[in-house]
C-alpha cells in the first residue's frame, strides 16, 4: 500500500474484476486456474489496500475520468463501503478457491460461464459499494442482478432456471422502483450525488415518496419479508459457490444501499412510521424465515431461509437510527452484522455444498450421519451457525451486543426481545441439522468423494466469522471517527 494512493486501489477494485471477467470469457476454460488465482490474489489485495486507505485517511471521492457531477461517474469510498468491499474480497477469495474445486475445472458449459459471470458480479458489487451517485447505483444494481441471475441459471437445471427467471423479474421490478425514486429525487433537486442529495432533502411529500419508492425497490431486492419469496428458491437451487455469494454479498448489496440512503440521504425524510413498518417487517422476517428453516426438508433451503431471517435483523434495528445518540453504535452493529452474516452464510453454503457433494443430495434425510464422512464441513457449518445464532465470540455476537445495548439505551425493549428470540430460533434450525449430522445411522453417501478444499474453504470462512467478533471494537472506532469527520464536514458546509 506504500506509495500507492487509495484512489488507485479504488479504481483497481472495480477495474480488475471486470478486466479479468472479460479475460476469462475470451480465454475460456483452459485458463480457469490462472484466472482464479489471479482474481483471488489481486482483487482482495486491492480491496485491502482501499480499506486500509479509507480507514487511515478518511472518506475518498473520485470522479472517473475527471468528469464531475452530474454527468460523470462519481466514486465514493468511506468506512461502510470500504468494509463491504473487504467483505466481498474475503468471500470472493474463498469463493475462487472453492469454485475452482467445486466445478472441477471441467470444460463444460457451467464452468465456462461461471468465471466470467462471477468476476463480473464481483466487479459490479465493488462498483455498487463504491458508487457515489444515485444513478450509478442503479446501473451497478442492474449489473449485479444480471450477473447473479446468470449464475443461478448456470447449471441449466429446470428448477434453477425457473428460480432465476423469477428472481430476474422481481429484481427488475425492484430496480425500476428504485429508478422511479431516483427520478423523483432528480426532478425535485436536480442532483444525483448522494451526499448532496442528503443535504437538500426535507419532509415534503415528494421526498417522502421518493424515499418510499427507493426503499420499496431495494427491499424487494434485499428479500425483506414479505418480498422474500423468490430468495429461497434462487439461493437454494444455485450451485453452492453461487449460493454463497448470493446470500453473503448480493442481498447485502441491496441492504447496503438501504443503509446508505437512510444514513446519508433520507435522515430528514424518513418518518417514524416508515422505520417502524420496516422494523416490523424485519421482525416478521426473522420469525417467518426461522420457522420455515425449521421445517424445510433440504439443507440448502434451510440456509437460504436463514438468510431471510438474518436479513430481518438488519431491518429490525433501523428505528434505532432515529436516536442520534445511538447512531454510531447502530451503524457499527449493522456493519458487523452484515459482515458476520456474509462470512458465516458463505461458509454455511460452502459447507452445505461440500456435504451435498458427498451425499449426492442435500435432503435432510440423506445427510443423516454425514459427520462421519465430512467432519470438517459439519464443524464449519456449526461454527458458521454460532455466528448466525449470535453466540460469542462470533461476529454475530458482537453485533448483537452492540445493537442490544443500543436498543436498551433507547428503550426499544421489543426490538431487544425479538433479537434474542431470533437467536434462539437460529439455534433451533442450526442444531436441527447438527442433530441430523450426528445421527448414528449409517451414512448413505459415499465416503470416497470427499473434497478437502471444499470443506476447508467453508471452515476458513466460518472461522473468519467466528473471529469477526474481535473486529467489532476497531470497527466501532472507525465508525466513530468517520462520524466525527462527517459532522465537521457538514459543519463547514452549512454556514
Amino acid at each position: 500500500m506504500i506509495g500507492v494512493g487509495a484512489e488507485t486501489w479504488l479504481i483497481l477494485c472495480i477495474a480488475l474484476p471486470f478486466t479479468l471477467a472479460v479475460a476469462a470469457y475470451v480465454v475460456g476454460p483452459r485458463a480457469n486456474l490462472y484466472v482464479a488465482w489471479l482474481a483471488g490474489l489481486a482483487i482482495p489485495l486491492a480491496s485491502a489496500g482501499l480499506c486500509y486507505g479509507v480507514v487511515t485517511e478518511g472518506a475518498i471521492r473520485y470522479a472517473v475520468g475527471g468528469w464531475d457531477q452530474p454527468l460523470g461517474i462519481a466514486l465514493h469510498a468511506d468506512v461502510l463501503s470500504g468494509l463491504m468491499v473487504l467483505l466481498s474480497a474475503v468471500v470472493g477469495l474463498v469463493t475462487c478457491l472453492y469454485g475452482h474445486r467445486y466445478l472441477g475445472g471441467a470444460d463444460d458449459a457451467s464452468s465456462r460461464s461461471y468465471w466470467p459471470l462471477w468476476l463480473m458480479l464481483w466487479g459490479a458489487l465493488n462498483a455498487l459499494f463504491l458508487a457515489g451517485d444515485a444513478f450509478n447505483v442503479y446501473v451497478t444494481l442492474e449489473l449485479v442482478t444480471l450477473a447473479s441471475v446468470g449464475l443461478v441459471a448456470m447449471t441449466g437445471k429446470a428448477v434453477s432456471v425457473r428460480a432465476s427467471f423469477r428472481y430476474l423479474i422481481l429484481a427488475l421490478a425492484g430496480s425500476l422502483a428504485y429508478l422511479l425514486g431516483v427520478a423523483l429525487l432528480y426532478a425535485q433537486h436536480g442532483v444525483l450525488d448522494l451526499v448532496m442529495l442528503g443535504e437538500q432533502l426535507g419532509t415534503d411529500w415528494a421526498s417522502v415518496a421518493a424515499c418510499a419508492a427507493v426503499t420499496v425497490g431495494l427491499i424487494l431486492k434485499a428479500a425483506l419479508f414479505p418480498m422474500h419469496f423468490w430468495l429461497p428458491a434462487a439461493h437454494g437451487s444455485a450451485p453452492a459457490p453461487v449460493s454463497a455469494v448470493l446470500s453473503a454479498l448480493v442481498v447485502k448489496a441491496s441492504f447496503y444501499l438501504v443503509l446508505r440512503y437512510w444514513l446519508d440521504v433520507f435522515p430528514a425524510s424518513v418518518t417514524d412510521v416508515g422505520s417502524f413498518v420496516l422494523s416490523g417487517l424485519g421482525a416478521a422476517a426473522i420469525i417467518w424465515g426461522s420457522v420455515q428453516a425449521l421445517r424445510t426438508p433440504r439443507l440448502k433451503l434451510l440456509v437460504a431461509y436463514s438468510t431471510v431471517a438474518q436479513l430481518g435483523y438488519l431491518f429490525l434495528v433501523l428505528p434505532l437510527l432515529r436516536d442520534a445518540a445511538q447512531r454510531d453504535a447502530v451503524v457499527t452493529g449493522l456493519i458487523c452484522l452484515a459482515l458476520a452474516h456474509g462470512l458465516a452464510k458463505a461458509g454455511a453454503f460452502m459447507a452445505a455444498g461440500a456435504m451435498q457433494r458427498v451425499a449426492g443430495d442435500d435432503g435432510m434425510h440423506g445427510l443423516r450421519g454425514v459427520s462421519v464422512s465430512t467432519p470438517v464441513a459439519v464443524f464449519a457449518f456449526a461454527l458458521a451457525g454460532i455466528s448466525l445464532m449470535g453466540l460469542p465470540p462470533a461476529g454475530g455476537f458482537g453485533a448483537k451486543w452492540v445493537l442490544l445495548d443500543a436498543s436498551i439505551a433507547s428503550d426499544n425493549w421489543l426490538i431487544a426481545a425479538i433479537m434474542l428470540a431470533g437467536g434462539l430460533l437460529a439455534a433451533g434450525y442450526i442444531f436441527r441439522f447438527i442433530r441430523v449430522a450426528f445421527h448414528t445411522e449409517e451414512f448413505a453417501g459415499s465416503v470416497v468423494t470427499r473434497h478437502r478444499t471444499l470443506e476447508w474453504s467453508a471452515m476458513a470462512l466460518a472461522l473468519a466469522a467466528l473471529l469477526m467478533g474481535f473486529l467489532v471494537e476497531p470497527i466501532s472506532i472507525w465508525v466513530a471517527n468517520a462520524g466525527a469527520a462527517g459532522t465537521t464536514q457538514l459543519a463547514e458546509v452549512v454556514p
Binding site: 436498551i408 434474542l420 437467536g423 450426528f438 445421527h439 474481535f470 471494537e473
Partner: protein, 499 residues
Amino acid sequence: MTASVLMPLIVLLSSLVPAVLIFLLPADRHWLRGAMSLGGATLKLAIVAIMLWGVFHEQTYRLTIPFLPGLPLTLHADALSMFLITLSALLWLFTTIYAIGYLDNAPHRRRFFGFFSLCVSATVGIALAGDLLTFLVFYELLTLTTYPLVAHRGSAKALQAARTYLTYTLGGGAVLLLATVWLYHVAGTLAFREQGFLNGLVAEQGPTLTVIFFLLIAGFGVKAALVPLHGWLPKAMVAPAPVSALLHAVAVVKAGAFGIVRVVSDVYGIETSDQMGLLLPLTLAASFTIVYGSVRALAQDDLKRRLAYSTVSQVSYIALGLSLGSPIAALGGIVHLVHQGVMKITLFFCAGNLAESAGIYRVSQMRGIGRRMPWTMAAFTVAAFGMIGIPPLAGFVSKWHLGVGAAAANQGWVIAVLVTSGLLNAAYFLPIIHTAWFAVENSVNGKSDDHKDAAEAKWPLLAPALFTAALSMIIGLFATADASPLTWATLIMRREFGL
C-alpha cells in the same frame, strides 16, 4: 510482568491447543491423542499450581484481549477463579484418564476428545473471566462444546437429550445476554470486583438492578439446575460416563453455580444484595431445589438418573450458601463448589464402571455387586456418604458451614432444610449401598445373570474413581489444614467480605 500475562494464556491454551491438534490428527492415532490430552492436562495442572502460589501471595495475573467496544475480554486470576480452575484442572486430568479407558475401542474418539478438551478450555475461561462479558462468552462456548459430548452416542435418545439440553441452556444464555447488556447499560462496567461494583447505584437504580439480578440468576440457574430450570440435567444422562462426570462435577453445572457466586459476590456484592433484599428469594429457590431434587432422586431406579437428581439437589447448596448473607454460609457454599465436584465425579466414575464392567444401569441390578467390584463400590460408598454429609468426608464440611451460617443468619428453617436434605440423601443413597454390599444376589428368575461374569473394572477406570474418593476424604479430613479447599475458601470469603 510477562508471567502475569502469560500464565492465564497458557492455562487456556493448554487445553485449547490439544483440542485443535486432536481435531487435526488422523482418527487412528490413539496413542498420540491420549498423550496430548494427558500432556495438556498435566501442563495445566502445573501452571495452575504455580498460579495458586502466586495468587496466594497477591500477585496479579491479568490478560486483556480487545473485543467489544470498551469491553475487552479479560482473563484475571483471583482467589475465587483459582478455586474453580484448580478443581477443573485436577478433575480434568482424572476424567481424561478415565475417558481414555472408558472409550477404548469406541467410535468417534477423535471428536469426543477434541470437544472434551474444548469443554475444559471453556471452563477455564469461565473460571478466569474477569468480567461478566468474558464470563458470558465462555459460558456460551461451554454450551456449544458440551452439545457434541451429550449427543456423542448419536442414538435417537442421545440426540433428544442433547436437544433438550440445548433448548434450556441457550434459552438461559439469551436471558443472560439481555441481563448483561442491560447491566452494562446501567452500570457502565462489567468488571468483577470483590464486594461488587454496584454499591453506588443501588439508591437510584434499585428496581432495575433487582430485575437484572433475577434475570442473571435465571440465566445461570439453568445450568445450575435450579428448579424449575433443571429439566435438562436428568435427560443428559444418556451421555457417556466421563461426560456425565464432567457435566456434573467440573463444567456445566459448576459453571452455572459459579455464575451465581460471581453475580452475588462480585457483581452485586453479598452485603449489597442482602441489603437490597435479593437474597431471600434465592434462598427459597435453592431450598426448594434441594428438597425437590432429593425427593425426585428417591423414585429413580436408574442409577445415573438418581445421581442426576442428586446433583440438582446438591448444587443448590452453593446458591444456598451464597444467599444467606453470612460469611460462614458463604464459605460453606463456596467450598461446596469443590467438594460437590470431587464427590459427584467419583459417583459418576463408579456408575460408569458398573455400566462398563458389569452392565449394570439400575439400582435394582446392583444386588451384591460389592463383592464382585469391591473397589468401585468402596469408592462409591465413600462418595455417597460424603454426599449425605457424614464426616470426615468433604460433604460434611460444606454442610457444617452452611448450617452454622444459617444459624448465624437467624434462618433456622434453613437448618431444617439441611436436615431434611440429609435425611433424603440418606434415603436414596443408603439403599444403593445396602443393595451393593449386603443384599444377597437372588438367583431366582435368572436375575443374577446381570453381572455373573462381572469382575472389577480395569485400572484406568478404577484409579480415577479411587483417587477422587480418597480426595473427597482427604479434603474433609484435613479441612482446616493449609492449602485445603476450606482454607482457600476462607481466603476468598475474607476478600469478598472485606474482612
